[in-house]
Symmetry: C2
Subunit: 317 residues, 2 copies
């Protein structure tokens, strides 16, 4: 419904979209509000969330010694916003700048809360900066939140969408441009997938423990098996991620960016199959996925599927 | 309906979106197919359209001496596409590169067909490059197509959308961020406007004859009057443009990017009013609009409205 406003927002609008992602923002809020033990007696915390909202939640919860870092240099206004919150008696130590630019806190941090997930979790190497901050600023007994992240896959059967994206090129205003198909298919697409086009159970292909994982493990290969629920044609594989606030939490909080639940600003990531695969209800569709950074552009990802003797490589850029 | 696929396409996807804009593409095609006299005995033509489709239409219409320029350097494939169109016996002289980079044709052009309109027509100074090509490459008796462009305004009454964008900041997860409103409002938004939120007749505020207009005239001030059709609150002004293939055409062709007709990839441009204006059916809402380039970023536009003793400036960036 609200997708009817298919908008190109300006600079502020991007942050408005983030704030309006209730699934994400309320999960972060609930984690901070409902887990006082995580923050209790911690001398130093650091919170990343758009417009300093993480710091505001933090202060509201009584955690006054927060280093809020506003990652976007456009948002000097964020400082004014948090400073103007008259209901709060304390000001967070806001800094504008990315983690890479900012000066090191004078003491090591006990808790870091980061909201830096990319499309398909790993796009734009956003998780890299969490590990960077962890290794540089976190004390040995400190914790990163959210601490667990899953990446999942499922099979899609959506003939209509497949036609619209593939068969389209066979008749472009009367001209055959089929030679474009291969190039178009190889680009993974970030879009909202309708839950009724799912034709398998989802399967987790990778779990990261953000307190332990090292940078090289963010590139990986994983075998997977998708339990097919419909006898039909599989036209695409969909990928998404789930986020967990788990370690030492009395009230555990999680959210999913999958097509089965309320959409987030991450939507889902779709890997279209140029040639659909016939599948049968009850069948296990076996495959292997390899996720790696594009050496030519480390922000972008290369995702390769081995599926029924075919090797399919996609870029997410 | 197809907005449900609120996609972030990759590099090819952008061109896919353009090609799928039937309103635009079919208008160009119809102009070329149905106006042989415009092209007859013209020794040199130049056509800009995504994926060289302009050249293909041109060749199909029997105009073999076409210089097709593919403006996007990503699209070397476009050459293969047009070369592979086996139904056509001739190949267009395709060049990859922008008009500014490309070498000058050896003879002056008789006809130039350009598909270079930006949001609100003037965004990204796209019309500038048409005038640049005209002055450099077109013979004195030559013609630019499309030759006429209108920019229009209308009043909108959409309380729900206004609430979603403005009142939102008064309660962001329980916090008052109202100080963000002014910054957010000042950004014009490109989005699809529902026709049933129009509360005035549209009015043309500027017409450009692309064969005559000079660069400085693309910045202008214009008085306007909007005939209000509903007694309600005006929450925004919407802007859009219309395109005409007119000069010497036996079959005139036009298309509109307004909210009353099938949407195009340009959607509409919305200037939100922080404080809605009460209006009455039958009333003439008087105003003045000034459109100028942002000196700090010539691709972006600054649009100022004088409306009921208020001066409101928006950036489109």
């Amino acid at each position: 419904e609200d997708e009817a406003y298919f908008s190109s927002y300006g600079h502020y609008g991007i942050h408005e979209e983030m704030l309006k992602d209730k699934v994400r923002t309320e999960s972060y809020r609930d984690f901070i509000y409902h887990n006082p033990d995580v923050f209790k007696d911690k001398t130093c915390k650091q919170t990343y969330l758009h417009k300093g909202l993480g710091s505001v939640f933090d202060m509201q919860a009584g955690n006054s010694q927060t280093f809020g870092r506003v990652k976007c240099h456009l948002l000097r206004e964020a400082i004014d916003v948090t400073a103007s919150l008259s209901a709060l008696s304390v000001s967070p130590a806001q800094e504008v700048g990315s983690i890479h630019q900012s000066s090191c806190p004078s003491v090591l941090l006990s808790v870091t809360v980061s909201a830096t997930q990319g499309y398909f979790l790993l796009f734009e190497s956003m998780l890299d900066s969490v590990l960077y901050a962890r290794d540089l600023y976190l004390s040995d007994s400190g914790s990163v939140y959210p601490d667990l992240c899953n990446i999942s896959l499922a099979a899609l059967g959506d003939r209509e969408r497949h036609q619209d994206r593939i068969a389209f090129w066979e008749d472009v205003y009367g001209f055959d441009m089929a030679c474009m198909k291969t190039a178009v298919v190889a680009e993974a697409v970030v879009e909202v997938v309708k839950a009724d086009t799912l034709i398998s159970e989802p399967t987790v292909i990778q779990t990261f423990d953000c307190n332990r994982v090292c940078l090289s493990e963010l590139e990986f290969t994983s075998d997977f098996s998708l339990k097919i629920t419909n006898t039909t044609e599989c036209t695409a594989i969909v990928g998404y991620f789930d986020i967990f606030f788990d370690k030492g939490c009395s009230t555990k909080v999680m959210f999913s960016t999958g097509p089965q639940v309320t959409k987030t600003h991450w939507k889902q990531t779709v890997f279209l199959l140029e040639w659909p695969i016939s599948v049968h209800a009850g069948e296990e569709l076996q495959g292997k996925i390899t996720v790696r950074k594009n050496k030519k552009d480390p922000r972008s990802l290369l995702v390769t599927f081995d599926l029924r003797d075919r090797k399919l490589t996609y870029s997410l850029q």
